[in-house]
Amino acid sequence: MIHNYKRAIQDIRDHRFLNAVTIITIAISILIVSAFALFFVNANEIINSWKKGIKIMVYLKPDTPETKISELIRKIQHMDGIRDVRFISKNEAFQELKKQMKRQSSLFENLKENPLPDAFEIRLKISFQNQEKVEILATRLESFPQVDEVEYGQRWLGQFTNFFNLFRLTGYAMGGLFFMAALLIVANTIRLVLYSRRDEVEIMRLVGATDSFIKAPFYIQGLIQGAFGGIIGLAALFVGFLLLSSSMERGISPGLFTIRFLSPGAFCGIILGSTFVGWIACYLSLKQFFK
């Protein structure tokens, strides 16, 4: 194994240019794929922050006694998918409305009594923030006799869920396409390397070298090229990220969200992925070359 590793290093030294071309090809492919991943990670984060805003408003019937309200709070809190329940009394709601409509304060002067109902503001766990589950939950809340009306932005939630699913599906499809493109480009580059060394391979065969002996350093080279290509691609992405992120954050409402770089786990995953690309591209090229 050590001997094969030394042969691979020697081969890289002997064919610096071709190896550099392969590493640069992998680096560019990884740069494209990881830039895409970075975009999706951040877009996902923004969407998740929007999803946290999904809430159900439960309006109670007039004159519901306090004991019933406390009992209802307890029951709702014990339901699946509930993260937080806040009781908003009709007075509290009225004061809040007044605050929001300061310029139209004259409207409230003629009111003889508070027209707003007591209500609950319910926030959901992330796993329950989809249309189907919200609908089920709303139906259950409506079944309580003290509940007059349940509101959860049905149309908006439906559109949002569809958009998010489409977004996620597009992400997977694009990621898959870029992965395939990277794989084919690298396999082609390695095939060119093999083609340029076909005489050498033929000579090795003629002197009695087995196919596995000939292939071993190519595989090691594939792994090294993949890993180096991945590191260079991610380094280029990081530099681009530093240059763009600050100006982007200034451009969009500051403090609304933070643009993040890939997590250490994703970073390691991409390096492993690029190493795998190097190996599998090598495998495909060698398989065809040794047919």
Partner: protein, 229 residues
Amino acid sequence: MIDGQNKSSIIRLFHVHKNYGAKKALANITLDISKNELLFISGPSGAGKTTLLKLLYLGEEVSEGQVLIEGINLSRISHNRIPFLRRKFGIIFQDYKLIPTKTVFNNVAIVLEATGKKRRFIEKKVKSILRTVGMEETLHSLPPSLSGGEQQRIAFARAVVGDPKIILADEPTGNLDEVSADIILELLKRFHTRGATVIIATHDKELIRKTGGRVIHLNQGYMQKTINV
């Protein structure tokens, strides 16, 4: 008869034909080559000399007939066993077939590396064989920096470093001046004396006259005559 083996024969050919499309390269060759024999395959260009050598190390497959190497029928050998068959041979090619990007040492060492020999053994053996062919000074040189005669001596060193039972030489002196050709010839004789079976394909009658041995003459793929010089 085909699966049996004459004890003194190392190579046997039975009614061997080789065609390239409609062109007949070899026709009905039947031949026994004994252990430690020195055999010349002579004939003009295009007679089928190189093709005959290629059939022995499976550089080409026969179109018809059987080739046996030490009793192994090459028509029945599995793909995985071909490298092991080739290790029985030391092959000297007319165009040397050295790897231009590898040093002389690495070009010769490759044969031993392929058989999994230890690094220390490889260094010792390669240096020793390069001393034998008078090329120990070129250890770190690249083949393109050497003359044709020097490259042929490196190719010879590579052919014999694995102590092969059979040495195949295809026009070994074809591109060389008289001095370099004599050196190669002497080396071939020396390894023949040490016990190797040596098969030389050549059209050089002077080389055959100087060396002596059995000569088979090919013409347009047919074996015309066998003589002892």
